[in-house]
């Protein structure tokens, strides 16, 4: 992992990783996003907050290329996602994006190690190499001793750490997290938060969706508040280190 940034200063001219302009998303009559503009620079940790149903997850899905806007453009790493077809989006996610979810979404049939290795194997990396890197990551995240255990027997915190390892497998430019602590007890939640802070400190760009103010203030350098599908307010946060 790179260590080019010192983790405290964010020069304005740093590379723009995410750029949303005029993004609208409608589900039938319902407006989930109603004109969102947002820029995220390399090395930033952005927290998106807001009440349930305000469009946070929808916003995240746009950035991940999991869903397409009704109108507006989404650029990630300079790539206009609107120009990509389904396969193109899949390859884009593989190379540039890592995702973690509230309910982990691990594959129940595979042990922890293979769940993590999977992401690299999809790109054609050999099983041996993929497992070696997966083990390194599990080790860094403190769950290496659980590598042969199936998700059903892992604790919630352990599952989320395995999920983070999987998200980091392909060295993504951007790590997306949707309510990463939402399903965890407070102690496990703390551990995951610390993990995210550590990652950001070594330069990982983060976009975290949450309605937990504690998570937002602890992990993020910038807070984006969303209400009724619009960015209601943005503010920089004191980073704690």
């Amino acid at each position: 992992m790179s260590n080019d940034h010192d983790g405290t200063t964010r020069p304005d001219d740093a590379q723009v990783v995410v750029e949303l302009s005029g993004v609208h998303k409608e589900f039938g009559d319902a407006k989930a996003l109603d004109g969102v503009d947002l820029r995220i620079r390399a090395g930033e940790a952005v927290a998106v907050m807001g009440p349930s149903g305000c469009g946070k997850s929808t916003l995240l899905n746009m950035v991940a290329g999991l869903d397409r806007p009704t109108s507006g453009t989404v650029r990630v790493q300079g790539q206009d996602l609107g120009q990509l077809n389904e396969s193109g989006l899949a390859l884009f996610r593989r190379r540039h994006v890592g995702m973690i979810f509230q309910f982990f979404n691990l594959i129940d049939d595979l042990p922890a190690l293979d769940n993590v290795a999977l992401a690299a194997q999809l790109t054609g990396t050999s099983a041996k190499q993929a497992r070696r890197r997966a083990l390194e990551l599990l080790d860094e995240l403190g769950v290496a001793h659980r590598k042969d255990v199936y998700p059903a027997t892992l604790s919630g915190g352990e599952r989320q750490r395995v999920a983070v390892a999987r998200a980091l497998m392909n060295r993504p430019a951007l790590l997306l997290a949707d309510e990463p602590t939402g399903a965890l007890d407070s102690r496990s939640g703390e551990q995951v938060m610390d993990l995210l802070i550590d990652l950001n400190q070594i330069g990982q760009t983060l976009l975290i969706v949450t309605h937990d103010p504690n998570l937002a203030t602890r992990c993020a350098s910038r807070l984006v508040e969303v209400a009724d599908g619009r960015v209601a307010r943005e503010r920089m946060l004191e980073t704690q280190s």
């Binding site: 869903d67 396969s87 995702m99 999809l122």
Partner: protein, 770 residues
């Protein structure tokens, strides 16, 4: 919690699983129709003969005696011999010749028996269909297996000796003991040539027992006293000969249909329960008792199953009539009634839902045991065991990850995989059997030559009202002389009597350049009957008349007799037809009875010009170009096979389809996640197809040998066609390779739609809303 809630929950479940509900309905529909059809033919072929035969006290053996060697007193005494349960006779018999057309029959011999009213006879209670029994000299009752012709009552028959008999009745008997009956007094005046005894024996289950019983009964009579003996087993065999062609096939398809139905219904139903774990958990958490949960799941399955059963029964019932009609065409049915048995729909209507309920019970009882907390929290049962080891091992191989994931998937649900594979395997067996049967049938026909053939019907056959201008000899010469003709074959057709047998048979006499040409008769045993006094016949004839190659028969026509030898067994043929040659015919009659000519034209001849030239020469001729044709029974077998193959393959593919649909429903979250981390739609399709393709390959490996064995079993049990080893062996390497693909094809066909729907799963929805 009341029944209303259970019903509401079931209805909701049916609605939510629309595709699954349709699949269950379709599978049950196809299977029910298949089973009903198969049972209809099997039962129709067996039961009616026995029923009618027993009702009539039919004769186990109808024996004809030489009156010079056995007196009436001696024969009457045989009735009291040990082993004889009952006997009727002796009745005197003779064969008269009717020189003109008579009440719908062609001119020819007629066997008459002198017999008092048989209504209460101990054996062979001949059924009078119309009119009454003969009570006075000059009266005759005519045997008419096909049905009574009441308008002919009162008309008369005049024999070649000038005897006039008035038709007072029409009758039939399963024993087919005579062509007609007169009073014993009338018979005495006719100079009888044979004496008939009708026996029922205590031991009558096999031919051997019949022969032994007859031997015991006639012990002490001079040798050769028994001139003929007709066994009821032979008649029974002949009765179902038409159906016998289909029986082995129908039985196999019926059994396959049943198994496939059971497997897939089991698969579909258990799948519904497994994929419904969370649903079950929710139901339990809001207070459904385990029993109510089971009820919900059984109801969910019963709705489409009942609809499928009812529609399938109706469809099978409708199709059964034409199929039975085809199967029994040309068979003397006597008093037996051929129709699908009334209990069949009852059986399927009760049996199929029972089968479905049984199939549902196992997984439903699992739902019964499942704890609510487990179901809700896990969403699916936690998995452990062998399947996971396989996954583990596969993920370490060099295969592309999408492929190795697909390979491992089926191990996660071994029971479901086994059921799916069994369904594909049975599909492969069906395809193999049909391919084999079709191949054998194709091989059993002489490929037509490249020349154009003209079929020329004579006035006799074409029923033209024009008098022929030319004699048969002149016609043959003219056909030869007309430009373009290469070879001319002649077929004469006349009904002849067989001494000792009441029924007339069709005798085809071939002559001209080729004894047998486009008739495609093929002698599969012995040799073609080309010599003087030789005949050949199909297996059905040999069976029905209880004769074999080398046996001798005496043909009777216009008062003349000649003894012929059976030298050849044809591939197939009418149970009442023999083939011979013009020279043999000349021993019986100078009239060649020509019904048609077959003219092979030289290549490049203008067929239209040839046809015009010959009709100009004799307008009574009706020429037509011969279309390459196949035999009716072959077409019937082929259409049966095709129907069943399509039905069972569809069912098998539906099974695969359903399994995958369930797997995808169950793995939606996994699929969404795989896509989220960058699996392309193409990789998703590859993974899904891979997960069934290997099952298809394996099914091919198991199913093909099974199919080949089944094919052989079927072919060897088709009694009316005598296939040779060369015809049975139809399996070449390319064909086997093609069949090996059948399993994969069935699997992939069923997988295509679910694979694409998996590739299209909306990731965001799946990952966030599940």
């Amino acid at each position: 919690m009341n029944g209303g809630a259970v019903w509401r929950a079931s209805r909701g479940a049916v609605k939510r699983r629309r595709v699954q509900t349709i699949v269950i309905g379709l599978v049950v529909f196809c299977s029910t129709a298949t089973v009903l059809l198969a049972l209809a033919v099997i039962s129709a072929a067996r039961a009616p003969f026995d029923t009618a035969f027993e009702a009539e006290h039919g004769a186990h053996v109808t024996a004809g005696f030489d009156p010079a060697r056995a007196s009436a007193e001696q024969l009457a005494a045989t009735a009291h011999r040990p082993g004889v349960e009952a006997a009727a006779g002796p009745f005197d018999q003779t064969v008269v010749t009717i020189p003109t057309d008579w009440i719908g029959h062609a001119p020819g011999p007629l066997t008459l028996t002198g017999r008092p009213d048989p209504a209460a006879a101990p054996v062979d209670r001949v059924t009078v269909l119309a009119g009454r029994w003969a009570t006075a000299p000059g009266e005759v009752v005519v045997a008419t297996p096909g049905g009574a012709a009441e308008r002919f009552l009162g008309s008369s028959i005049i024999t070649n000796t000038g005897l006039k008999l008035t038709v007072v009745g029409f009758a039939t008997d399963m024993s087919q003991s005579s062509g007609g009956w007169v009073t014993p007094e009338q018979m005495a005046a006719l100079h009888p040539t044979a004496r008939q005894m009708l026996y029922r024996f205590t031991d009558a289950d096999t031919e051997q027992q019949l022969t032994a019983s007859l031997g015991a009964a006639t012990e002490g009579l001079p040798q050769d006293a028994v001139a003929s003996a007709q066994s009821y087993l032979v008649l029974k065999q002949a009765f179902s000969a038409g159906a016998d062609a289909y029986l082995p096939l129908m039985t196999v398809f019926g059994v396959l249909g049943l198994i496939v139905a059971a497997l897939i219904v089991g698969n579909v139903v258990s799948g519904a329960v497994v994929s419904g774990y969370r649903h079950i958990g929710v139901l339990k958490s809001i207070g459904f008792t385990p029993r109510q949960v089971v009820t919900v799941y059984l109801t969910m399955v019963s709705v489409p199953a009942v609809v499928g059963t009812v529609l399938g029964t109706a469809a099978g019932w409708v199709a059964a009539y034409p199929i039975l009609e085809t199967a029994f065409t040309g068979i003397s049915t006597g008093t037996a009634v051929i129709e699908p048995a009334g209990w069949l729909p009852v059986a399927t209507l009760l049996g199929v839902p029972l089968l479905v309920a049984l199939a549902a019970l196992v997984p439903a009882s699992r739902a019964h045991r499942f704890s609510a907390a487990q179901a809700i929290s896990a969403g699916s049962a936690p998995r452990t065991g062998r399947g996971l080891k396989v996954q583990r091992w596969l993920s370490g191989t060099r295969l592309p990850r999408a492929v190795s994931l697909g390979l491992g998937q089926p191990f996660a649900r071994p029971a479901r995989t086994a059921l799916t594979m069994a369904a594909i395997t049975l599909g492969v067996v069906t395809v193999t059997v049909t391919t084999g049967v079709t191949g054998t049938l194709a091989k059993s026909f002489v490929p037509p030559d490249r020349n154009t053939h003209i079929d020329v019907l004579t006035a006799k056959f074409a029923e033209k009202k024009i008098e022929p201008r030319l004699t048969p000899e002149q016609t043959e010469a003219m056909l030869h002389a007309t430009p373009g003709a290469e070879r001319v074959s002649v077929r004469g057709l006349v009904r002849v009597g067989l001494v000792g047998q009441p029924q007339l048979v069709f005798a085809n006499f071939y002559g001209g350049d080729d004894m047998v040409d486009h008739q495609r008769l093929r002698v599969v045993e012995g040799r073609p009957a080309t010599g003087l006094g030789e005949i050949e016949a199909g297996p059905a004839f040999l069976d029905q008349h209880g004769v074999k190659l080398g046996d001798r028969l005496t043909l009777v026509l216009d008062g003349r007799q000649t003894t012929v030898t059976i030298v050849g067994k044809e591939l197939q043929g009418n149970a009442n037809a023999i083939s011979s040659n013009a020279a043999t015919r000349a021993l019986l009659t100078p009239d060649p009875h020509v019904v048609e000519y077959d003219v092979r034209l030289a290549q490049g001849t203008d067929a239209a010009a040839y046809q015009k030239a010959i009709t100009d020469a004799d307008p009574s001729l009706t020429p037509s170009i011969v279309a390459p044709s196949t035999e009716g029974s072959v077409v019937a077998i082929q259409s049966f096979s095709t129907t069943f193959t399509v039905l069972l393959s569809v069912v098998a593919a539906l099974g695969v389809f359903n399994t995958l649909l369930l797997t995808i429903r169950e793995r939606r979250r996994d699929l969404g996640m795989l896509k989220a981390i960058g699996m392309t739609p193409r990789q998703v399709v590859a993974m899904t197809i891979t997960s069934v393709a290997w099952q298809g390959v394996l099914s091919g490996i198991i199913g093909i040998p099974l199919g080949i064995l089944t094919h052989r079993l079927i072919i060897e049990h088709v009694r009316i066609i005598a296939f040779t080893e060369g015809m049975i062996d139809v399996w070449g390497a390319p064909l086997l390779a093609a069949l090996a693909l059948a399993g994969v094809a069935i699997a992939v066909l069923g997988a295509l739609v679910p694979a694409r729907s998996a590739a299209r799963l909306p990731i965001a929805e799946v990952l966030h809303n599940e």
